[in-house]
């Protein structure tokens, strides 16, 4: 079971924060297939937020195929994210570290590095590479 939290200063709509927190937990392996998510009432009680917000987040997760509702019982994880790729994280991280060192030697600051990274990810997905 995971616990949700709400950042009212972030500007991200509350339901998207819940979706992101579930995706994050799936990616990190904190949630696995068959795990139950907090019930709407539990989530509402933990965060003091509107039940419609939780319902909207759960509908979105269901639409993404990540969770499935078992009527009368609760919401369960149906799919994990990145389970096969976990082993590849280490080497990829090292590659990125090397690239980062190169970028720093070339005189780029963190902001420029992040901008390049985001830009490449965006244009790569636009071209259908990634």
């Amino acid at each position: 079971m995971i616990e949700f939290h709400l950042d009212t200063r972030s500007g991200v709509p509350p339901y998207q924060q819940i979706v992101q927190q579930v995706r994050h937990a799936l990616r990190l392996g904190l949630l696995e297939v068959g795990d139950q998510l907090p019930t709407v009432k539990e989530a509402v009680a933990a965060m003091a937020i509107n039940p419609n917000t939780v319902l909207k987040a759960y509908r979105e997760l269901e639409h993404l195929g990540l969770v499935a509702a078992r009527p009368g019982i609760g919401i369960f994880v149906a799919k994990t994210l990145g389970d096969h790729s976990l082993a590849a994280h280490g080497p990829l991280r090292q590659d990125l570290m090397r690239w980062l060192a190169k970028a720093r030697r070339a005189g780029l600051d963190d902001e420029s590095i992040e901008a390049i990274f985001r830009d490449v990810v965006r244009s790569a997905s636009a071209e259908g590479v990634a």
């Binding site: 500007g11 709509p13 009432k41 937020i49 039940p51 419609n52």
Partner: protein
């Protein structure tokens, strides 16, 4: 979609002063509605009209499809917690529950006892000995246990400390999750509204400034910053909510459905607090706000 509250040209006059004027609203059912506005804006007047404690001077008001306060069936469907959560000082917590059971045909005794148990409120304690937070929780329990279709709460958390406030809102949201009532609550603490509400009504100077789904409002309101000379070149379908100028820069709060493509302007998202403050700082006088005037 069913409507929880519908007002048409609703107004209430106290002597020579209008407490609420020309209020036209349609609040869908199943929402948690935040009613915001400065002190004296007419929030309490609107809520008292909604529960039937006041009669309108002009216009019409329908709550859950009926005129407020006219029949006992109508009264039974609305739960109301007045400002500062009044309780009977000399009566015990248990007496309050017995009174509730007596006076409300749809009273849910199990729900009331369970809630008080969860809150750790001893039924033998006198209401006068409770803390502000406990008293508010007792008043909320009474309102929820009659299993209303609409809960109306006037400044329910204003006098509570942050912990009691959070506990109260948790209790309220749990009640909504379990029983699906519509809620209208007034408050001037926007951070709380941001958590619990999905619909907002901004009331200033006895008039409704804006009302709508919070996500929709946030998606259509923007803060634009740009050079002052670009001010005249903005498209005419923008609704100007507020603006401030320096000798070089203009900062505008606008409402528009379309994207703002002019590269001269930096477009930023607003949060609920910015949005509410923009309407409170620049309240409109008339029903129709003039469109953005273009002058160079």
């Amino acid at each position: 979609m069913t409507v929880a509250l519908e007002a048409n040209g609703l107004g209430k006059r106290y002597g020579r002063i209008w407490g609420l004027s020309d209020c036209t609203l349609a609040i869908p059912a199943g929402r948690v509605v935040g009613l915001v506005g400065p002190n004296g804006a007419g929030k309490t007047t609107l809520l008292h009209l909604a529960v039937g404690l006041l009669q309108p001077t002009t216009g019409s008001l329908s709550v859950l499809g009926g005129r407020p306060g006219t029949t006992s069936a109508q009264l039974a469907r609305i739960g109301f917690v007045a400002q500062d959560a009044p309780t009977y000082t000399g009566l015990s917590v248990g007496d309050h529950l017995r009174l509730g059971a007596w006076m409300n045909p749809s009273w849910d005794a199990r729900l009331a006892e369970e809630r008080l148990g969860r809150l750790g409120l001893d039924p033998r304690r006198k209401a006068g000995q409770l803390s502000g937070g406990q008293r508010a929780q007792l008043a909320l329990t009474l309102a929820v246990a009659k299993r209303p279709d609409l809960l109306v709460l006037d400044e329910p958390v204003a006098s509570l400390d942050p912990l009691a406030r959070r506990e109260f809102l948790k209790g309220l949201m749990e009640g909504v999750a379990e029983h699906g009532a519509s809620v209208i609550l007034s408050s001037h603490i926007v951070a709380d509204l941001q958590r619990v509400c999905d619909y907002v009504v901004v009331l200033v100077d006895s008039r409704v400034q804006v009302a709508g789904d919070i996500q929709e409002l946030l998606a259509t309101h923007h803060r634009l910053t740009g050079p002052r000379h670009a001010r005249g070149a903005l498209p005419g379908d923008l609704l100007l909510i507020g603006e401030s100028q320096t000798d070089r820069q203009s900062t505008l709060i606008v409402r528009t459905d379309g994207p703002i493509l002019d590269p001269a302007w930096t477009v930023e998202q607003l949060d609920l607090e910015d949005l509410v403050l923009a309407y409170m700082t620049h309240p409109r006088e008339h029903e129709r706000r003039p469109h953005l005037e273009i002058h160079r």
